[in-house]
Point group: C2
Chain length 321, copies 2
């Protein structure tokens, strides 16, 4: 049975969980009706604060996401949690293997949890994730926590959609610190050393603080705090909540929020655009001039970079008619 | 000091390792001259057989890639190895942490090894990887082995560039088998159960074979073999080599090679196109109508999907002038 877009839209706005879950599944399946509902919902978005949690597997992000959600609930806020694992083909309502802890939360009607893998959103996981953020925002969640695995491209893309990005590491993770240094030092608004009851925690905290000292002063002059947590015991989670809150307040006071929103919009727009063009171009290569171009490439008569320029010309010509 | 494209082109064709390494670094840095060299090299590609190795971390793909390379060398063939880790920001000549074993190989002048992380190829790791495949092909390598971590999107994209895709798993990896079932059963030409001296190997082999029974018959009716290996000891690697060789022969005899080549060309073309459009569109949003569109999105006057359509129109109009 199919739901009419208008009907689904109204049910999501009313806070109907099943309607929201249904809409998210439609997004993952690339359903055209879902896009129609998203169009309608867009004017109702922009209220939620979006928190990104990133860091390598094993750093305890899932548990941390869970504790954060519990903390926000205790403060009377409603929460959405999206667990994104681009290395997993699994998706949908089922929680991923090591996310059993999330089930503690799942009984609370004011918490909405969703796992997303790469399967249902081929070629567009970050676009699909952002669509789900928007759905949970329109659905009325005060906070949307997006937890992603690893520090690869997809994760960094997804972080662009967050207002506050928390980078999670743990003691003794030497390589991890190197990775942060090389790649994601710039994207963190708050840094977390989780499992801080382990040996070497002080050292890791000190290392991180030193690295942040040398980080070029970002816009609005925010100095990212480093927070120690033991998520399993719930320790330090309140401090992390306060750090996120301070960052949120800083965004508003410094006028940075407008810039952040603009960045989010650009990332969203470019993601959708990429998907559109890929689909269009993919179709173009199946017929006529496009097909001929692929044949010439295979026979080494034209190199791929020149061929790509030809496809652009061809698409333009076709669009012009 | 910069190298002239023509000079670099000639040195790569002559088998100058330093020139090849230099060109690869230029590719990773998005150097415009690199594209010029790639254009020139394109007519000299198409000779190498490209073998993809994919599977989760821990399945021993690195060791397997190393053993395969040693086997090919023993048979008098020249080999290129590309280690792609989209979750690592590291890149360049330095070998990744757990790839010390590769250093055994690195002394052989007929073996060319390169690690690629996400850092140098922002937004275009799969395009950069394919460029490196083409460089090693033109450089004269008989075989190019591309090893990728995990089963996410980037990995699946990179597999599209291979002639023979080997999916590596290990005994008792129940989740792993599930992942293969859900996502990458379709993309494997050869399946490998590595660490086959561990408990449960027979079970894993049997499970895989059963799953492959129910796989819809692919084009050209290739039945993917399942090979047991203990890469650390070099066991079963010769069998894997023969399986890859049989697949290669099958591609030629069945006429499937032409189709495979066409697929590779399409993937290459679409990858480059995506990058081109992203750059173009990114610039468009920084000025005039594009900038205005982002402002309207931020104020919720227009939804992102509609805005993306506007950008396409704008880009077309601008290109038409």
């Amino acid at each position: 049975m199919r739901d009419a877009p208008k009907d689904l839209y109204e049910r999501v706005l009313k806070g109907d969980r099943r309607a929201a879950a249904r809409l998210i599944t439609m997004v993952e399946n690339g359903d055209r009706d879902a896009r129609e509902v998203l169009r309608m919902l867009h004017s109702r978005t922009g209220r939620a604060h979006i928190v990104g949690l990133t860091g390598s597997p094993g750093s305890g992000k899932s548990t941390l996401a869970c504790r954060l959600a519990q903390g926000y609930r205790a403060a009377g806020k409603t929460v959405g949690v999206i667990c994104v694992d681009p290395t997993s083909p699994f998706t949908g309502g089922a929680l991923l293997g090591d996310r059993v802890r999330m089930q503690e939360l799942a009984g609370d009607p004011e918490v909405f949890i969703r796992s997303m893998g790469s399967r249902g959103a081929l070629g567009g996981l970050s676009v699909a994730t952002n669509d789900v953020i928007n759905i949970l925002d329109a659905f009325g969640k005060d906070l949307v926590i997006v937890e992603t695995v690893g520090a690869g491209q997809v994760e960094i893309e997804i972080v662009k959609y967050a207002h506050t990005c928390c980078v999670v590491t743990m003691p003794g993770a030497g390589d991890e610190i190197q990775a942060i240094k090389a790649g994601i030092l710039e994207i963190g608004d708050v840094f977390v050393v989780n499992k801080a009851d382990r040996e070497g925690a002080q050292r890791t905290l000190a290392d991180l603080e030193m690295m942040l000292e040398t980080r070029p002063g970002g816009p609005g002059d925010w100095k990212p705090p480093v927070v120690a947590t033991v998520a399993l015991e719930g320790e330090g989670v309140d401090e992390l909540e306060r750090a996120i809150e301070r960052h949120s307040a800083h965004l508003l006071e410094s006028g940075m929020m407008a810039e952040k929103t603009e960045q989010r919009m650009k990332a969203e727009l470019l993601g959708i655009l990429d998907l559109m063009v890929s689909r269009e171009a993919g179709r173009a290569l199946e017929e006529g001039e496009g097909k001929e171009l692929v044949r010439r490439m295979a026979e080494r008569q034209i190199d791929p970079h020149s061929a790509a320029e030809e496809v652009v010309k061809y698409l333009l010509k076709r669009a012009g008619n």
